[in-house]
Each structure stands twice: as structure tokens, then as C-alpha cells.
Symmetry: C2
Subunit: 372 residues, 2 copies
């Protein structure tokens, strides 16, 4: 079964839209002119096939193009390459939908854990999850460990590292992961909690495999991955590994340009929902409406819908970052419902000695809003 990508295409008229769609179908597969395509299997199976063209508005068309699973193989990286590799460099083409179809869904089955799996591990059967963030970079290992313990005491479901924590000399990856995981485990035991610690995957490319195993062995409850910097193939690699058994939370760093221009790139819901889910993320972080980034309520709703709707794969948790506070909790619950992970960032750190109380206040505010 072929997979299908929907592109929004700028074109003066239907003939031009058809020509552009034909260009995409070739560009994303054989990358040679139609006249030169070998007859038989390559022409009939491999070349992209225009399934449908429709007009959306003056000068704006929609093209649905199907591709052979043979063109993508079994790798997320090559799947994305077929979806949008070279066409990403063309003006006036935006990916607005991806339907992997049964064959690719079998090859890329998506989240290992999904909403149910994360809830089970965090022992939070219902209600929004809260995830305070360990930062800022530049602090010593002990400061992060202490901060993490306080977050667990306050009732964090997930203790997430800032995506900027990497191999800084003051808190290198392994020393930090070991100390923070131990602090979280100890506090979980003392307080009867099940908070999950998500370190930020980092390290040179040739050490990533070892760092993943290190994180698992140290007791990490999941891992934060930046697909904009490590590639979506890294998400797939972790998600499908039963021996690693680590939930994946993805972070949007370096992915901004894909969504910011309306006529190019990839729709918000597709990039922060559909693609994350196909790759196998369990939780997708994105900039919340009302925070420092300019995402609209509609764009955030599109992301949440793509994370939680019917397929592909298990439903996953949207994780709006920024713009959350005790005062806004009721608005957020109205907007996102219960299957959501709220990131709690800088505002929590105003008074580090009282962070446990601040996390607890956020928990109470979310609980109150959910039971009106």
C-alpha cells in the first residue's frame, strides 16, 4: 500500500499546479525528467503518483501524491527524504498532511508507550501531567540533583532537562545523568512517587549509542531528543528498541523554520504531531500560545489534535511549553483537556528554595481546573 503526502502548492492556475505536482512526484523519487525514467518498475511503481489536485483559493492548490513504500524502505530518515527532501527547497510548497498507509505503518509503528504507557509509568492514570524543567545550564551537577529532588517532592510527573544541558564542563552528561537519576529515585522512594526523569540526549555522534544505554542503566525514565539536530531517525531508533525501553520526549529546537513561513515548510500539526508520532515520540514539546513564541491557539490545537487523533500509531501526549502558570491553569485545561504534559519553565525558578511548593501549587491548580 502506497503512502500519501498532501502538499499545498502555489500556482497561477490548474495547469501550473499540475506541472508543479508532476515536478514534486519526480523530484521526490527519481529526480530525473519524466522522458528519461526507465520503463516498467521505476516508472510504474517508484515515481510519485498524483492522486488528486484541487483548488483551495485563488493561486493556491492542493496536491495529493502517493509514493511506493519501496522508495522509503524501512527508515524514518528516508521516509522523510521522500516526503520532502528536495521539495523543501522549493518556494510555494508546504506539506499539510501525511498518510503513511498500512505498509509504512507496519514499518514505522510509532510510539512504543503512547499516552497509556506514559500514564502507567508515571502512575498518573488521569489528569494533565506536569513537567518542571531542570535549568539553567552552567550550574554544577549537585544543583541539578537538588532541583530534581525538589521537583519530585512537589509532585512532578516528569522531571525534564532543559534542551540546552549537554556536555558543559560544569555538568557533563554522564555525571549529571547519574546524579539526577539517583536523586529522583531516592526521592520517589521516600515520598512514594513515580516521577520519570528525562535527560537531554547529547554527546558526539559516535557516543550516542553508549549514552543511551548509560541513561537507561542509570535509571532514566525516558529521554529528551531534539530531532531538529539529531534527526528523526534517532527518535525511531530509540522508539523501536525493546532492550532500551525508554519513552521519548521530543523538543522543537532548530525546527522553527519549518513552520514559520506559511507557504513553505510543513504545517504545525504535521511537524509537531504526525511526523513525531510516525517517528515514535511519546511526548511532543512545542511552543505554547501565549508564551515567548508566536504560535496561535489554532496552531497549538492543530498540534494537539495530530498528537491525539486516530493514528498513525498510538496516540501521544502534546506538551505545550511556556505560558503556563497557576493563573492560567484553568485556561490551559479548557484548551488542552487532560491528555497533556505541561512544561513548567523559568517562572518556577524565581525562588529555587521553594520550588517544591511552586510545583505543588501548579499541581493543585491543574487538579482544581479539571474538577470544576
Amino acid at each position: 500500500m502506497r503512502f500519501t503526502v498532501t502538499y499545498r502548492v502555489r500556482a497561477a492556475n490548474r495547469a501550473e499546479a499540475l506541472a508543479r505536482a508532476e515536478g514534486i512526484a519526480l523530484e521526490q523519487t527519481v529526480e530525473i525528467p519524466r522522458a528519461v525514467v526507465p520503463a516498467g518498475y521505476v516508472a510504474e511503481e517508484i515515481v510519485g503518483r498524483i492522486e488528486e489536485i484541487g483548488q483551495l483559493a485563488e493561486g493556491v492548490f492542493q496536491a495529493r501524491i502517493s509514493y511506493s513504500p519501496d522508495s522509503a524502505g524501512t527508515e524514518m530518515t528516508q521516509f522523510l527524504n521522500v516526503v520532502f527532501g528536495n521539495s523543501s527547497i522549493q518556494q510555494g510548497i508546504r506539506v499539510t498532511g501525511i498518510e503513511p498507509g498500512a505498509t509504512m505503518e507496519a514499518r514505522l509503528p510509532g510510539p512504543r508507550f503512547g499516552i497509556g504507557g506514559i500514564r502507567a509509568r508515571a502512575d498518573r492514570p488521569r489528569g494533565g501531567l506536569i513537567a518542571p524543567v531542570l535549568k539553567p545550564m552552567g550550574q554544577p551537577v549537585a544543583a541539578f540533583a537538588a532541583l530534581a529532588a525538589d521537583c519530585v517532592r512537589g509532585g512532578a510527573d516528569i522531571v525534564k532537562e532543559d534542551h540546552g544541558l549537554a556536555g558543559q564542563p560544569t555538568a557533563p552528561f554522564r555525571a549529571r545523568v547519574e546524579a539526577v537519576a539517583a536523586a529522583v529515585a531516592k526521592t520517589n522512594a521516600e515520598e512514594g512517587r513515580s516521577a520519570l526523569y528525562f535527560p537531554n540526549l547529547s554527546g558526539p555522534a559516535e557516543e550516542i549509542e553508549a549514552n543511551l544505554r548509560f541513561a537507561r542503566d542509570a535509571g532514566a525514565g525516558g529521554i529528551l531528543v531534539m530531532p531538529g539536530l539529531f534527526g528523526f531517525g534517532m527518535v525511531q531508533r530509540i522508539a523501536r528498541d525493546a532492550s532500551l525501553d525508554l519513552p521519548v520526549m521530543t523538543h522543537p529546537a532548530f525546527l522553527g523554520p519549518y513552520v514559520l513561513a506559511p507557504d513553505t515548510g510543513i504545517d504545525h500539526g504535521v511537524l509537531f504531531g504526525t511526523i513525531q508520532r510516525i517517528a515514535g515520540a511519546d511526548i511532543s514539546v512545542f511552543p505554547n500560545v501565549g508564551g515567548r513564541f508566536g504560535f496561535s491557539a489554532q496552531e497549538c490545537a492543530q498540534i494537539a489534535a495530530a498528537c491525539r487523533g486516530t493514528g498513525p500509531g498510538r496516540a501521544m501526549l502534546p506538551s505545550p511549553g511556556g505560558g503556563m502558570s497557576v493563573e492560567r491553569a484553568a485556561d490551559m485545561v479548557r484548551m488542552y483537556g487532560q491528555d497533556v504534559v505541561y512544561l513548567l519553565g523559568g517562572s518556577l525558578l524565581a525562588d529555587p528554595p521553594n520550588i517544591a511548593a511552586a510545583v505543588a501549587a501548579m499541581r493543585a491548580a491543574v487538579d482544581a481546573a479539571e474538577q470544576p
Copy 2:
């Protein structure tokens, strides 16, 4: 020594520009409000520092912000994360320059081979290099091997795989690399050539290390990498590995959205020149003016200048793809000079049995244009 990033920032006036620059300096490092930043090392060393703000035009400012090497560590991935991780998601911020400075240059020394190293390996001491491309996907291994042999006979300096050749069932990575490398070696020996074969790096994330060694052992003369899908950390990882000793050619797949919108993302020269060079690419492929993509002559010239100018690291080869033909050779030589790799794509494949003659004609056209 700190490294410095230049951002072009949209702002109504100088005060707003200063506020946005202050926002970037915090966002890219500590990611918390200034009032909450721990005093001492974090506040003084880690937080980004505004070095300079100037107005470029009505509503457009330029901010130079310096960062501590401690924030980036030794990894290309984290270096890029500090340069533009979260700020990539903001409207109206574009990276227009990166100066790594002595400390980061020592950690990220850039191309292992550079222009001189590639020329020595390809035995082409002067003149533009030509690189026909093996495609289309969907053909069997033997077809690629035969095509590669013909390209060598015609005088190819580099035989490059299409970036879409991955793990397709008709020509899986290892079987293909082994057969094509053998065909190129045999033809090199028969014809007294030194053509370099660059397979396209592919495979699941956990097999990339093994695939790199496989390519080297099979006799690949270099490797094609898509940093938009595998990350720039992968380029660094290959470039700094003396035991691998493989030149890196980078391909722009999936990177388009970074350059297409003028007010966000990253300037053409920075993305396809400076960053490639800092990561350690020896050859940077980008869409040529006059081809299927809309890059202007000025944008292509900016890329070529960034690839070949003074530092950081060794000068590397720009590789314009598309728009090259016997008829345009003189124009291209006037535009790019001699330190360049011309990709020869679909037009060569119009008549596969005569591809050696088509490559030879291109070689002759380039030579003639260079010695007028």
C-alpha cells in the same frame, strides 16, 4: 575566547531591537528571565552577551551576540543549539554570520581534506571537478555499477550517489556500495583514473557506525551526508575520524526551509558555507542558479565565498547542483572559477548507453572554458 553570532532582527526601533537581542542572549543559553539567573559564573560567563547592535534599514537591526565555549562544549550539535536552537522558532530573527573564534575552532577544526585534499585524492590538481550522479532509485545494483564505470571512463572526478539512494529493496546500501566501489576501482585501474566514489550514507541510526566502516572498507572515496536529516553532528563525527579517513560531501535535502523565508532561518552562505565548514564538510552541494530551485546568482556567490574564503578551518569546495550543461559551462566557469565541483544530474541520463561520452563532453567544455 567567546564565539559570536550575528542575527538580523526585525524591530520597530532601537529599544525593541535591544530587548529582542537580550531575549536571544537568554533564550539561547539559560532560558530563564534575567532576574532569575544565578549570579557569578552563569550570569557573567554563560549568558549570551550583546556585543553590538546596529540599524540596517527601517525596522531591521543587526545584533552581534557572543557566547561562552562552555555553553557549547565540544559538540557540533550543541554548538548549533546555542547558535539558533530556540530562536529558530521566533519570527523575525535570521542568522547572518557565525565567527567561531579560536577556542571553538580548536574544538571544531573543520574539513579534514578541504580543497587541496580532495584535489590530491581525485588527482585533479587544477580546474573544476565534475561529479555525475548515480540515479534513479529503483534500479538494480548492477545498473548502478555499470553507470558508475561509464562515468569513470568519461572522466568523472567524483561519482556521487543520488541522495535518494538508501535501503531500497532493489539495491540495498551494502550490496550497492560494494558493487559500485568495485566497479569504480576496476575502471580506475583500467583507465588510469582516480575517480572517487561517494555513496549516500543511509541505514537505521544504530547501524550508521557500521555502515561508515563498511563504506570505507569497500573502497568508497568519500561519503554523501544529508545534515538536514542526520544532523550536522554526523558530519563532525566523520570529519574528525582519522581511522575512517573519508571526505564528506553534504547534500541540502530537507534544509530548504532554513533559507527560503528572508526574515527567519539562516542566510544561504552561513547554512551552505560557514556551518558546513565548521562541521567539517569538504564539499557542500547546493541548488545552482538557473536550475529547478530558485536560488539567485547572488545567493550562490555568497555560498561559494563562504566555502572558499579565509576560515574557519580549511577552504572547502562549493558544489552547485542543477543547471549545468555543455552550453552553460562557460557561464559556470565565469561564475565559480576553478575550485568547484559541478554536479551533473538528470540531463546526462537522457541516453544511458552514451553516458561516458556525455561526461567526457562536459569535461571538455569545462576545460575549454577555463583556458580561453
